[in-house]
């Protein structure tokens, strides 16, 4: 059994659509395989569990060469929203859940969701600002204690 993964701890540091989804898919996929999973939201990744912001996560249309859109065009007001709506519609067709729905589901699978203490201090956020599924706001030391013996993924 030495070649199986028993536990993953996933750090979500980005607040863009393309920054958040891969982490959620990996966490959900881990639980589906019976792997223990914890998600740790830090810096702009906190937006994914922020009550007022988690339903408004957008695709980065500037500084994102993979989008194949001229930076100048990407910077025009509204372009990020339009691009996000376009992607969201495609995702809906593929039955990929929205970020709030996905996070609720991941919490239901038994994965742990945690906020980063240093980032919450920096952005002046308390547990009340974060969605109910977030179990706690923890320090980096507590994160490492929780992650001990498993794999750590940084996104």
């Amino acid at each position: 059994m030495g070649d199986t993964i028993e536990k993953v701890s996933i750090i979500v540091s980005k607040g863009s659509l393309e920054g958040v989804y891969p982490a959620l898919i990996m966490a959900n996929g881990a639980r589906a395989e019976g792997i223990e999973a914890n998600l740790f939201f830090t810096f702009f990744g906190l937006d994914a569990v922020h009550k007022k912001r988690h339903d408004h996560i957008k695709v980065a249309t500037v500084g994102n060469p993979g989008l194949h859109l001229a930076t100048l065009a990407g910077g025009i007001p509204g372009v990020s929203s339009v691009m996000t709506h376009y992607l969201e519609r495609k995702m809906e067709k593929l039955d990929i859940p929205s970020i709030p729905e996905f996070i609720e589901m991941i919490s239901d699978t038994g994965a742990g969701l945690y906020g980063c203490q240093a980032s919450c201090d920096l952005f002046e956020l308390t547990k009340d600002d974060l969605i109910d599924q977030v179990k706690d706001i923890i320090t980096v030391g507590e994160f490492y204690e929780m992650a001990a013996g498993g794999q750590i993924i940084f996104t």
Binding site: A32, E33, G34, M105, D108
Partner: protein, 105 residues
Amino acid sequence: MTTATYAGQIVTVNDEGFFENPDEWNEEMAPAIARTVGIDELTEQHWRVIKFMRAEYAEKGTGPTVRVLGKTSGVSVKELYELFPKGPAKVAAKIAGIPKPRGCI
């Protein structure tokens, strides 16, 4: 490829223990398969999921993922993980004698 014996019958399974041929499966085998994945007793709710997996496979040729199960089987995602802690879609597929469901979400 290897074989396993459930309820006195020899069946062909892959390296992970999933049935190679779902037609070889019958309901008497389910409790024995369940014990190999740490489920000592199959409750009515377990059976509800197992039968749903069989029906989905028969209809679509592939088993549902956890998300699809949670949306369509009538058993919530939370309860699915209580019933099958080691991964509902994967474990229920194994007990139901169908291939491991493919799908990222």
